[in-house]
Amino acid sequence: MRYAETGFNLEIDLSRGSIERVATDPRDTALHLGGQGTAAKILWERVGPEVDPFSPDNLLIFSTGLLHGTPVPGANRTSVDTFSPQTDRYSHSLFGGFFGPELKHAGYDKIIIRGKSPDFVYLWIHNGKVELRDATHLEGKGALDTASTIKAELKQPEAQVAAIGLAGENRVFMATIEHANSSASRGVGVIMGDKRLKAIAVRGTNDINVARPEELFGISSPMYEAIYENPDCGDLLAHEDDEEFHVNNFAWGNARERQKGYWNHEREEQWTAITESVRLRWTGCYNCPKDCHMAVSYPGRPPYFQKCYSKLTYAMAAYEEIGFNYDILGVTQEHGLDGFSTPQVLAFAVELYDAGILTDEDLPDFPPDGAGRFFYLVEKIVHREGIGDVLANGVYHAARAIGKGAEEYDHNTMKKFEQVPLKLSMINYPYFLMYATGEKMNITQIEGSYPQVPIADLEERKAFTERWAAAPERFKEYFMEWEPRAHPTVEASINIADWNETMHYVDDAVGTCAFLSSFTGQWAGQPPYHIHNLPDFISHATGLDLDSDGLWKIARRNRNLIRAINVRRGLRRADEKPPADHWKKRDPEMEQKLLDAYYEFKGWTNDGIPTKQTLDDLSLGYVSDDLVERGILSGDEQSGSEATVGASAE
């Protein structure tokens, strides 16, 4: 019997309309766990570097995490993995809610979608019965509306649905996949639309078995209280009415300027009143006591769920107030648009208009106000109408297609992808490394375990490290040595970047939410899940006997495999740099030194390619063979073997 996982994947070929249930190899679980990890192996093996993201040969993979459906609270984030037409690289996103656990109860660990359907279809999975159904009647429908229509027509109110809106249908690069109270962003909805797959509905009523029931339940049940009572986990910002941090520190417009002093008591009262008037309730995801998602009803808009920092992104990009943000989310959530990248594309277009690069010819009847302009542009983009067809490819590609100096206004993308609108003064070493070398396209998917600032009071700092169970020992030393306003050492910086990203690779394989784990330690050092307690949850659930070092090694394997996927598609050191103006004061010499040290520490070549020895040590010999065969590696490159010893959980 397989524990925690089902041992089967669903293979759907949309070109041929075929559906297969395929047994998986338990050795892959031992090597990669699940979720993003096992998905990466499939992408490596089956999607070569020559495959265009819009080719029928590109795969779109929905993966449950290894702990989905087990009693472990907060394991519910579904991983979506494919290749992005925006970056031409590996694309990965996660969404919470209920989809992954339901899929596992239906009897599958993954849905692997290849090919393209001639017309829009949706996939209906009901335990052993799986079918592709016509979805032409759902074309143009909003994402949440699609979900409720499908549930009604199937007479399955308990089915879980993931769907695209008009943005995905029209292959908008910022398209999301929407499910219940959650969304997958970062370039996966466009592929679902390209494959003409409008939605996936799933209902599962099978058991999920775990290896050591008493032990697993024993450590899982206290987690409800531990998570619920912990004020420093969950989405802290979602619940906050005091927006000072965001409105003062994030950049407004097209990631342009900070508005210091914008926030005041009066505004806080106004915004709070608006928020309270539109809030229906707070909701949570499967088997988690935190309520991070706000159900919203804005007058004249269909109800939707607002999550994370999207409550401010549109307002700040348009120089508007929070009421506008709730209003436009009522439109963009149904269209299925990413609340991080879309506002930047809109603000970019407004800047081009103001600069005379886009004209009234491009934007006929363009409204004069920020709000009006954003609504106008959203419709142009999701219908790919006129200039919207260009803007729908994101800032990087739009800038080059428009020309006439528009490239100068593309200042906040990295590796062709929109970044968080943050403009800071002094370069930050660990953050430089995370931005430059991360594979997950958004800093929030890379940072999170190590605090962003030192605690000034030494006694307090000492107390912090004493209760810091999440941290391997060396980080307590770095933290104690960290002088306020000083840079961590190079050694500390590479370790911090490494630990931060390692925890995301753990979460994204087992399905635990970053708000309970990898994104969460940075506030108070008290994430409910961390490198020292997760091995017990995984071991009791699966029967694998895993310790912290073992888990760290698996995360490193997944990280290197994904690195290799991108390297095979052309990623090199020259691509590894943050947006040019992310920090006002840069240090080019130090940056190169940091990259040298980081690559060596990771066991990569000086060009950022994992060496044969690094890959072979991680049981990725088939990867190194391929890279050698392609001439990407000679096989004789030096590995930073000394440094990799340092990358452990102790």
């Binding site: 459906g69 087990t70 009693p71 609270p73 209920f98 109860h105 949440l144 409720s148 109110p157 219940a180 109270n181 599962g204 009523t205 099978n206 058991d207 999920i208 078995n209 775990v210 029931p213 008493e214 697993l216 339940f217 049940s221 409800y224 209280e225 998570i227 619920y228 009572e229 229906l280 309730r281 707070w282 909701t283 949570g284 995801c285 499967y286 088997n287 988690c288 006591p289 309520d291 159900a295 009803s297 269909p302 109800p303 769920f305």
Partner: protein, 191 residues
């Protein structure tokens, strides 16, 4: 009224007739369905060995578009569908009474074992030693579900009536006294 979470208080009540309640505050439900997971795990055999919300004796009925989150608990089994159902209108949307009914019944697949088709019924996680609260309540940290034990202060029920008496009475009600007497006479003459 007793503090549900104090074991000592529960002990004091051991000799008295106690009513167990799970109170539901609909406004507090966040729709996480931890109650379903925990219920199914507790009732799996061996205990906690598997999870399956479809086997749970508590189900959160969710209609996201209408902001409706209603945990319902499995009650008694009925072999027949009921007639003359109510319709509820909530936020302008009409729901059939079945949507919120806890009865295990043939008209829908709630509270029916997915494999055997047998009815499921909430047993308040009864076991020895007594749990301080049922598992669904234990995992519901947002306090949508709370557990309370109350001393039963209703009038003592009249003494239990004889089963035969109840049976005969219903036969007489249905067929009339004469017909029943006739039947008894005929059956006794056959010896």
């Amino acid at each position: 009224m007793t503090d549900a979470k104090g074991t000592a208080a529960v002990k004091d009540l051991a000799d008295k007739k106690v009513l167990k309640h799970i109170k539901v505050d609909l406004d507090k439900c966040i729709g996480c369905r931890a109650c379903e997971m925990a219920c199914s795990a507790f009732h799996s055999k061996p205990r906690f060995s598997s999870t399956n919300p479809a086997r749970s004796r508590i189900r959160v009925v969710i209609d996201e578009k209408n902001d409706m989150y209603v945990p319902i608990r499995a009650g008694d089994y009925t072999p027949a569908e009921c007639t003359g159902r109510h319709k509820y209108t909530i936020n302008g949307k009409e729901y059939n009474e079945c949507s919120f009914c806890g009865v295990s019944c043939p008209s829908r697949d709630y509270f029916i074992e997915p494999d055997s088709g047998l009815p499921l019924k909430c047993d308040m996680c009864e076991e020895d030693p007594t749990l301080t609260e049922p598992w669904c309540v234990k995992v519901c940290r947002c306090d949508c579900l709370t557990f309370a034990e109350e001393e039963d202060d209703r009038e003592e029920q009249p003494e239990k009536r004889d089963e035969m008496e109840i049976g005969l009475e219903s036969l007489i009600l249905k067929h009339g006294l004469d017909k029943v007497l006739d039947m008894v006479a005929r059956m006794s003459s056959k010896g």
